[in-house]
């Protein structure tokens, strides 16, 4: 999922950067490259970097793990060209050192790369006298270029005769695997690119040229593009673009892109959120892959605790924010049932270690999709300071939280772009349920037969979610019918409570409607005063959510004229509901499956109202401030 952008243009460099925030104004080289990286954000990433080259300033490099926004692109007024890269690590951590661009020993050559150099170990062995600073396969490329340049110049660094284009062409012949490469060099006014296996596309502007792994990176600047073919090497210079294949200059056709950037990014979906809702079966299969040992009634989460720690455990405290907090609420009930240990949940920003607790008998579990949530990190630091054992459940390899806790379980949901969390909630709960089984088995609190039953329910989760997705049309109809309501109340009991809270959060986040979630029993203790014929009640009426008792409370609301919608265990029926949605039989995870209906409901209400679903007003995906 890495992304590449390169830009070369004389015209805009003369503007000297400055205060260009207007979309119409191209801005400096650094700004254009930075914006290209922003356009590639949708692919998911965990580190980013740029290299800028100017006649006076030489080669300037900036790279780091984390947000594209957090990357401060250096102000290089004389820069005429630059390349940038976003990296999404799936194997190996996202560190500053592993971020692209990578350089040669002296820092004259910088390379960004998308793909895999399969023979990098052999090449690295050949480059024994070079100094490597990262764990990446990519880093061999700048060193190979350095070697080829040195050979050309008779051993002298940067001597006459050393040509970047010729060097890249020879290096290209030594690489095995798949790659798209962009190389720049101090003192050279070109970007040299090579493609084999990984996409690279050139953009042909009037006074500027672009290269990218994906057209969307530069679509705001030009729609005239040239797709490179495997084995092509091209040089982007102030005079234009030259493409070579097998050493000969070739003409590659220029096409005009007619489609809109947004459509391509989202794979044809209108919004990331809907795409990610539909990705849940796949995400859950990844979450569960290889971790369930149903026959033995155990799970393999690849986590370990000191001997005796779990046996002596007094309390599991979960700290989290937003949707992750509701996943924690779900998990806390499962922990008590499965692991026989007191489990509490605290909003991370409110968390203090608190009196009456024994640090070495407390496990504090942080639940955070990004692993960068400032409030959650703060809570973990307070827990660490108190001497408690800490643990993280996160989607992001190498994120800050993983470095600050004693152990981590990854939810493996894949990148999530929509601000409203959907698939990560499902994967968080599934991962926490597995953790509950693991702890319960370790403590001897959970019989193998009971564990098996939970694991079979988990195993049935992806298929059950797919069944719900197949019902989307009916949810859309319900959303159309009720979209103009004054307010929406979500209710449930037991495991239905966190789902009701999450359902309300989802709706308010993206539709801006007034939505509240309650424990169903609380309705009559206050909120019932808000109920009118204009306020639909949406109930979780499944296994694990004390459906019959909840239905009694729903009836109280119906008596006041409120319409009622319910997610009901397959086979059960509540005749008075205005709309009823079947939830397949998967035991304790039925409320989690019901939540998919609530996601779809929120999505379609917001979509009918034309809300900016992926970027709701005032909200950010990863909240890195306290």
């Amino acid at each position: 999922m890495c992304g590449i952008i390169g830009y070369i243009g004389e015209l805009h460099a003369a503007d000297g950067g400055g205060e260009t925030t207007d979309e119409e104004t191209p801005g400096s080289v650094g700004e254009i490259v930075h914006r290209g990286l922003k356009n590639l954000e949708y692919r998911g990433y965990d580190s980013a970097g740029v290299a800028l080259v100017g006649p006076e300033s030489g080669l300037t490099l900036a790279k780091r793990s984390g947000e594209v926004d957090a990357l401060s692109v250096p102000d290089v007024p004389d820069a005429t060209l630059g390349v940038g890269h976003t990296r999404w690590s799936t194997h190996g951590p996202p560190t500053d050192a592993n971020a692209h661009p990578h350089t040669d020993c002296v820092g004259d050559v910088a390379v960004v790369h998308n793909g895999i150099v399969e023979n990098y170990e052999a090449l690295r062995a050949e480059l024994a006298d070079h100094e490597f600073t990262s764990d990446t396969d990519t880093e061999v490329i700048p060193h190979l270029i350095e070697e080829e340049l040195a050979a050309d110049s008779g051993g002298e660094e940067g001597g006459e005769g050393a040509d970047l284009l010729a060097a890249v062409r020879r290096v290209e012949g030594r690489l095995e695997g798949s790659y798209g490469i962009c190389a720049v060099r101090e003192g050279d006014d070109r970007i040299v690119v090579a493609r084999r296996g990984s996409p690279l596309v050139l953009g042909r502007g009037e006074d500027a040229s672009f290269v990218a792994s994906d057209v969307t990176a530069f679509l705001e600047h030009t729609r005239d593009v040239t797709y490179l073919e495997d084995g092509d090497v091209a040089a982007l210079s102030p005079d234009g673009v030259e493409v070579y294949a097998d050493g000969d200059a070739v003409d590659r056709e220029t096409e005009t892109v007619t489609w809109e950037a947004d459509a391509a990014e989202k794979g044809g979906y209108e919004h990331y959120m809907r795409k990610e809702i539909h990705e849940q079966p796949t995400a859950l299969r990844q979450t569960l892959a290889g971790r369930l040992d149903v026959d033995a009634g155990d799970v393999d989460l690849d986590v370990s605790f000191p001997p005796g720690f779990l046996a002596d455990l007094e309390e599991i405290r979960i700290v989290a924010c937003g949707t992750s907090y509701y996943a924690g609420r779900y998990a806390a009930q499962l922990f008590e049932d499965l692991a026989g240990v007191r489990a509490t949940v605290e909003i991370a920003s409110e968390y203090e270690f608190g009196a009456g607790r024994t640090p070495d008998r407390t496990l504090v579990v942080a639940v955070t999709q990004s692993g960068e949530t400032a409030d959650t990190l703060g809570a973990i630091r307070r827990a660490n300071a108190a001497g408690a054992r800490t643990f993280a459940v996160t989607n992001t390899l190498g994120s800050t939280v993983t470095r600050e806790v004693d152990g981590t379980a990854f939810i493996r949901a894949g990148p999530e772009i929509g601000v409203a969390a959907t698939k990560t909630f499902a994967s968080q709960v599934a991962t926490l349920a597995m953790l509950g089984v693991a702890i319960g088995r370790d403590r001897g609190a959970l019989a193998a037969a009971d564990a098996r039953s939970v694991l079979e329910d988990l195993q049935g989760l992806p298929g059950a979610v797919q069944q719900v997705l197949d019902e989307e049309q009916r949810v859309r109809e319900a959303a159309r019918e009720f979209q103009d309501s004054e307010a929406f109340f979500f209710v449930g009991r037991s495991l239905g409570v966190p789902v009701a809270l999450e359902g309300a959060l989802k709706l308010k986040e993206i539709s801006y409607d007034h939505a509240e979630g309650f424990a169903a029993g609380e309705l009559k203790h206050g909120p019932l005063a808000l109920v009118t014929p204009e306020t639909p009640v949406i109930a979780v009426l499944t296994d694990g959510a004390r459906a019959d008792e909840t239905m009694n409370n729903v009836t109280e609301a119906q008596t006041r004229g409120a319409p009622a919608l319910g997610c009901v265990s397959a086979g059960d029926e509540y005749d008075t509901l205005d709309a009823s949605f079947d939830v397949p039989d998967v035991g304790v995870v039925e409320p989690l499956v019901a939540n998919v209906y609530l996601q779809l409901f929120a999505y379609h209400v917001a979509n009918e109202k034309g809300r900016p679903i992926d970027k709701p007003r005032n909200l950010a995906k990863s909240v890195t401030v306290e």
Partner: protein, 394 residues
């Protein structure tokens, strides 16, 4: 490789009713064989032919397609989507692509498997002019398809599923080369009801304007349920298994027997003493419990095959549950589809999505169990069971 990489329009909007119940929850192009949807095999052939832009015409259950293919990154190709909201025929489907193509283009069916050569042969002739190109291949049962009469390389006509005797075994392989002129020709075609692309081609053929291109490579069609098994077997037998899905996340016991012609998805659990053989494909998150025997069978993702179950010559769809010691004996049978009786087809049985077959139950040969069916323990299931039905004992 040629300079121009071109655009392919792939028709994937159809429902595929003859494959019910498998197509009740997914469009036919998303029916998996050898663990990948039919459409993915088509996309791979297009990519292998060097085309780097694909327009998918989608309609029925299109979320399944969009979700699987996204923007094409995983196949190193740009995938765009156009919607055919009502399925009014293949000509109408091609017409939906008009706003997004501006030069000559290749058209394929999303549910017919061809080799890359069929695509590149058409692509290489695209620039010859406005005359449509039709790929023609020889098959054993031409009367099931569009029979093509040729005069040299001129197409005389295309006769869809002719009733009478046919004097050629050459049929329309469903890979076309068109210029944008085809859009006006489609609009000019007189059609009552469905607007088939072959109707337009017949109009043009009358004016000697259609060129036939011979193709003798792989051509696989999934018309009926049992074709899922034969096409799956054909693909498994000529695929290099080493490059199949990664083995991470599998849990396979020591005493399990897995034959060479079995493909397993990454995330599969197989219990002790289970035996897998005979052109079998096992999808993601599937569980095969202890002592089960699975042979010449396609198992979709999330399904569970219980302990001791015997499943032969079968299609087990997504999230279906086969109870302990349930039996699908397998073998040659007679299957009725609509008003047509098909004799001597190899089909042990089909279990639809989310259906549950109770412990010790038996499917007689050729039984087709709809999606969401509940069959009680010990029942004998015969013939076709409609979706959502409950099969009780006694």
């Amino acid at each position: 490789m040629r300079d121009e990489s071109g655009t392919a329009v792939v028709l994937a909007a159809g429902e595929g009713r003859r494959l019910e119940p498998l197509t009740n929850r997914r469009p036919k192009p998303m029916v998996p064989v050898a663990n990948r949807p039919l459409l993915e095999h088509v996309v791979e052939a297009v990519v292998a032919a060097g085309i780097d832009r694909i327009v998918l015409v989608v309609g029925y259950k299109q979320e399944r397609i969009r979700n699987h293919f996204g923007d094409g990154d995983d196949w190193d190709v740009t995938i765009e989507y156009v919607e055919q909201s009502t399925q009014l025929g293949t000509g109408h489907a091609v017409l939906q692509a008009e706003p997004v193509v501006d030069g000559p283009f290749v058209v394929l069916n999303g549910d017919r498997l061809v080799d890359a050569e069929a695509v590149s042969a058409v692509r290489d002739r695209l620039s010859d002019g406005d005359a449509p190109l039709v790929t023609v291949t020889a098959v054993e049962r031409p009367r099931d398809y569009g029979v093509v009469r040729l005069d040299g390389d001129r197409v005389i006509d295309i006769d869809e599923k002719p009733e009478g005797p046919v004097d050629t075994n050459r049929i329309n392989a469903g890979v076309y080369g068109f210029s944008p002129a085809i859009f006006d020709a489609i609009r000019a075609t007189n059609a009552t009801g469905e607007l088939a692309i072959t109707a337009t081609l017949n109009d043009l053929a009358e004016r000697d304007e259609v060129t036939g291109l011979g193709y003798d490579g792989r051509w696989l069609d999934v018309s009926n349920l049992w074709d899922v098994l034969t096409v799956n077997a054909a693909l498994i037998h000529d695929t290099d298994h080493a490059r199949e899905a990664p083995t991470t996340g599998r849990r396979i016991g020591d005493t399990v027997s897995v034959a060479d012609d079995v493909v397993l998805a990454g995330n599969v659990r197989v219990g002790p003493n289970a035996t897998l053989s005979g052109a079998t494909a096992i999808g993601s998150n599937v569980t095969i419990a202890a002592n089960a025997v699975v042979e010449n069978t396609v198992v979709f993702p999330d399904a569970v095959i219980g302990p001791g179950a015997v499943v032969r010559d079968a299609v087990v769809a997504g999230n279906a549950q086969i109870g302990p010691n349930a039996t699908i004996t397998g073998g040659v049978s007679t299957v009725v589809v609509g008003d047509t009786v098909h004799r001597d087809v190899t089909l042990g049985g089909v279990v639809g999505d989310n259906a549950s077959i109770g412990g010790g139950a038996t499917l007689t040969d050729g039984a087709v169990v709809g999606d969401d069916v509940r069959a009680d323990a010990g029942v004998v299931v015969d013939g076709r069971v409609e979706p959502n039905a409950v099969v009780r004992r006694g």
